[in-house]
């Protein structure tokens, strides 16, 4: 059974996702010892790159989504199932900072599909869960997904495609804004459909997905290549700053600028 990681990276004007994927892949190789395949488009592919991915898959990108007036090419994640060259695939967002081998444990813990459910924000423990809308359920997170080639996983990704193609319809049913396509919402809806409008705990990662909130800035503690120790600083409404130190902890870095500062060699 082959195992590997799949990353989607389609550059937009303000963010070089390919470059982020390279940084992410190096850490995956180092901490998880897994091969990494990238799905990208011709425009994002650099002429010269010193990093060698296990596979480079060229796919058409979809520019129809917008995030704060900018193009955001996040659609097409449902193609992960057909594109992955691995029997068991870990699908990660490129802004997920791997600092430990914790994700390897998921290969022992899942059946055929698992994604992130509960979350926590570093330095903001009281941040609330995100709900699809006031009238529905809490959202799942597409930041970390693991699946194996199986009928059920295939159904989930096919359903994800259906939700993406009919996003406006589902937005009306679940009463959320359709202005911006989100993989997290599409995944939440798809998984519920496949599970017969119920949920199965087995589909959820048994630990919290850790986010670095936008109000928190992380600084590297030392300048080694594979640094895993960070100082986090946040400033509250009364302009009081507090800090803490973390190490060997994977986290989702929502600020792309901060991500690149943390991984720049």
């Amino acid at each position: 059974m082959s195992k590997g990681v799949l990353l989607f990276a389609f550059n937009i004007e303000k963010v070089n996702y390919y470059e982020m994927a390279v940084c992410c892949a190096k850490r995956i190789n180092h901490f998880l010892n897994l091969p990494v395949t990238i799905v990208t488009d011709n425009e994002s592919l650099p002429v010269n790159s010193t990093y060698q991915f296990d596979n480079v898959i060229i796919a058409d990108s979809d520019s129809s989504n917008r995030k704060q007036k900018d193009i955001w090419k996040n659609k097409g994640r449902y193609r992960a199932y057909e594109l992955t060259p691995y029997d068991e695939t870990l699908l990660l967002d490129t802004d997920y900072l791997v600092n430990s081998d914790q994700l390897n444990k998921l290969f022992e813990l899942y059946d055929d599909f698992m994604c992130a459910h509960k979350i926590s924000f570093l330095m903001s423990p009281h941040d609330e869960k995100e709900y699809i809308s006031n009238y529905s359920f809490d959202t799942l997170w597409a930041t970390v997904i693991i699946f194996r080639k199986s009928i059920r996983a295939q159904q989930i990704f096919e359903c994800l495609k259906m939700v993406q193609l009919n996003y406006s319809h589902y937005a009306k049913i679940y009463q959320f804004s359709e202005a911006m396509f989100r993989n997290d919402y599409a995944l939440t809806i798809a998984l519920r459909i496949v599970n017969g409008q119920t949920f199965d705990k087995k589909d959820y990662m048994p630990w919290r997905l850790v986010h670095l909130g936008k109000e928190t800035i992380a600084y590297r503690i030392n300048d080694t290549d594979m640094n895993t120790e960070y100082m986090l600083m946040t400033t509250d409404k009364k302009e009081k700053s507090t800090y803490t130190i973390i190490k060997d902890t994977d986290f989702h870095c929502m600020s792309k600028g901060n991500f690149m500062e943390l991984v720049d060699e």
């Binding site: 914790q102 813990l109 423990p125 100082m231 400033t235 803490t244």
Partner: protein
């Protein structure tokens, strides 16, 4: 990055609660292990229950709320091993963090 200078310039205080929450979450996740087709969290309650149960085979509810027939000794051994290594690591990092601030 000169973190000491940064802290001084920002007049930042060490956030005890954030540190405690972060460490608790981090090590709670490490206490999870797979055994006998189920998912378990090693805890004093699980260890105590298994230590005192009078028979070798028993049915327990795992983290996914599924009842599973398990071998007491083997599950206990796994639970103790995970608990000991994770809690030692937890204490070490907690102490280290207290000294670092």
């Amino acid at each position: 990055m000169n973190t000491k200078k940064l802290i001084k310039d920002a007049k930042a205080r060490f956030n005890h609660n954030s540190s405690k929450n972060y460490l608790r979450d981090k090590y709670k996740s490490k206490l999870i292990f797979a055994y006998g087709g189920g998912l378990w969290t090693s805890s004093p309650e699980l260890i105590s229950m298994l230590s005192n149960y009078p028979r070798e085979a028993l049915v327990l509810i795992d983290n996914h709320d599924n009842p599973l027939l398990v071998g007491r000794e083997k599950l206990l051994e796994n639970a103790i091993n995970v608990y000991e290594s994770v809690m030692q690591e937890y204490l070490l990092e907690y102490t280290e963090l207290q000294n670092k601030r």
